[in-house]
């Protein structure tokens, strides 16, 4: 360090000599440019799947070919955009569709026809299979419901 100090003392400050402060500022700015040039591609690279999923969220309608032939009392799991969803053909011939993501901590729920309920195995949350209402256990909200339209050769599920 002492070598550097001696060197500096020999310098004569003129208008064209950058001050130490200006030099440090320039070096810091250059360093920030490098950090940014490295961080931006890395961030975009790591965020790629999230961006692709965001495109899928734009999905407003899913057509399930042949799902109209599903027997009463059965359920079909499918993906609505990027998240799991379920189509239930009730024993009373009703058709409903819900998001299959538990509103408690995000596990995938399952339809249990013999118990007449939608159950989440993670923490024992229970939902009503007709309305998606949270019946018991920790879930704070009902399951998100979708609109269902049964066609001649398919079932069309769309955002409510």
């Amino acid at each position: 360090m002492s070598d550097l100090l001696i060197d500096n003392s020999k310098l004569v400050e003129t208008d064209s000599t950058p001050t130490r402060r200006a030099f440090v500022a320039a070096a810091a700015a250059a360093g920030l440019c490098y950090a940014g040039a490295l961080a931006y591609p890395i961030y975009r690279y790591l965020a790629s799947p999230a961006e692709m999923a965001a495109d899928q969220v734009a999905v407003t309608e899913v057509t399930l070919k042949g799902a109209n032939a599903m027997p009463a009392g059965a359920a079909l799991m499918f993906k609505f955009g990027s998240s799991p969803a379920m189509l239930i053909h009730g024993a009373d011939d009703s058709w409903v569709a819900f998001s299959a993501v538990c509103t408690h901590l995000g596990c995938t729920v399952q339809f249990e026809p013999q118990m007449n309920r939608i159950h989440c195995a993670c923490h024992g949350g229970v939902y009503d299979p007709h309305t998606g209402r949270n019946v018991s256990g920790p879930p704070p909200r009902p399951l998100k419901a979708y609109k269902v339209a049964v066609a001649a050769d398919s079932v069309v599920v769309s955002r409510a």
């Binding site: 360090m1 550097l4 040039a37 591609p41 690279y45």
Partner: protein, 357 residues
């Protein structure tokens, strides 16, 4: 505030001692000082390899899906092409700077007592670096990497006795397949790093312990007339400047000449025209070819490998028979051997490229 944090840490880990040690350390300054930077440049490029390698690991899938995942990295993920390109370019620059480092150590006679283990660990690191290159080359599983690995594994396969067995085990079967990719992947990201990192630690510690070696021309000068500069901050700043230059060169190469991804490997399609080994394998390949052509019969290749091995052993164990710190007869022979090695490497590499022109 900053002072009290410093004191807290200093009391527990001894920062002041470390700084005092770094201040005390000096680096010789003379006409050949430029060559002292190449170890540091190699280290920087290795760090880049770890960093970009981890990023590639985020999306790479070994096994049957290998090609598809590299295609995804290259064409689907944002800036994936840049990260892959940086990894490939930095791998090549790493091998290059390690070779420069090795020859500068050789000609400065820096392998002599007490630095023999520094030389030997360095050679081992270069060997592991070549294995990193060979195993990494297969991972994209495109046409070039497929055939390069096929041909490369013929070398152990042509050795007598255990050769074919070793090649089959490395390959994971009679032919290069998804099993080969899977085990090369394990080699590339687990086994080789596990071997490389402790060796690198030992290598770097020995550099700290013994300091930079003086070339014979400097040793010939009386001690008071030799010049040196403090490591910290003077040499350290220059080291950092070299790292910055390396980063700039790498960024330029990786973005202006992005690394290619060929067609998916297919055992049924013929080898592409002009296929050749990576440049750092060109010289040994071509030497074997020349020796194989010179010597008659099918044994030519085996004799070629044996001759080549003898040369390699002479090279590796140079510190054991050129140990004297005087400019003597043996020292001169070692010097000529080094010049011969450089000439042979450059010549056979050039001939190899001339042949596939």
């Amino acid at each position: 505030m900053a002072g009290s944090i410093y004191n807290w840490v200093d009391e527990r880990v001894g920062l002041t001692e470390a700084i005092a040690f770094a201040r005390h350390k000096r680096v010789p300054a003379h006409a050949q000082s430029f060559w002292y930077y190449w170890g540091g440049i190699s280290l920087f490029l290795f760090l880049v390899q770890i960093f970009t390698g981890i990023l590639l690991l985020v999306y790479y899938r070994p096994g049957a899906e290998a090609f598809e995942s590299v295609r995804q990295i290259t064409y689907v993920m944002h800036f994936g092409w840049l990260i892959r390109s940086a990894h490939s370019w930095s791998a090549n620059l790493f091998i290059f700077s390690v070779i420069v480092h090795m020859f500068s150590v050789y000609f400065m006679k820096a392998y002599r007592r007490p630095r023999e283990i520094g030389w030997l660990t360095g050679i081992a690191l270069l060997f592991l670096g070549a294995l990193f290159g060979f195993s990494g080359y297969l991972l994209p599983m495109d046409e070039l990497s497929y055939f390069a690995t096929k041909v490369g594994l013929q070398i152990p396969a042509s050795l007598p006795l255990l050769g074919p067995f070793t090649a089959t085990i490395l390959r994971g079967g009679p032919d290069v397949s998804e099993f080969t990719v899977q085990r090369f992947f394990a080699l590339h990201v687990v086994i080789l790093p596990l071997l490389f990192l402790p060796l690198l630690g030992l290598h770097l510690w020995l550099v700290q312990k013994h300091g930079n070696a003086l070339p014979p021309s400097e040793l010939a000068k009386p001690e008071p007339t030799r010049k040196s500069i403090p490591f910290f901050p003077n040499f350290f700043q220059k080291d950092l400047a070299m790292w910055l230059i390396s980063l700039n060169v790498l960024a330029l190469l990786a973005s202006v000449f992005p690394w290619d991804l060929g067609k998916q490997a297919d055992a049924l399609s013929p080898a592409p025209a002009g296929i050749h080994p990576e440049w750092y394998f060109m010289a040994p390949f071509h030497m074997l070819k020349i020796l194989g052509n010179w010597l008659p019969g099918a044994s030519g290749e085996v004799v070629g490998i044996l001759l080549f091995t003898v040369g390699l052993i002479l090279w590796v164990f140079i510190p054991l028979y050129d140990a004297q710190n005087k400019i003597g007869h043996r020292g001169r022979i070692a010097h000529y051997f080094g010049i011969f090695a450089v000439t042979a490497l450059i010549l056979t590499t050039a001939l190899g490229y001339w042949g596939i022109r």
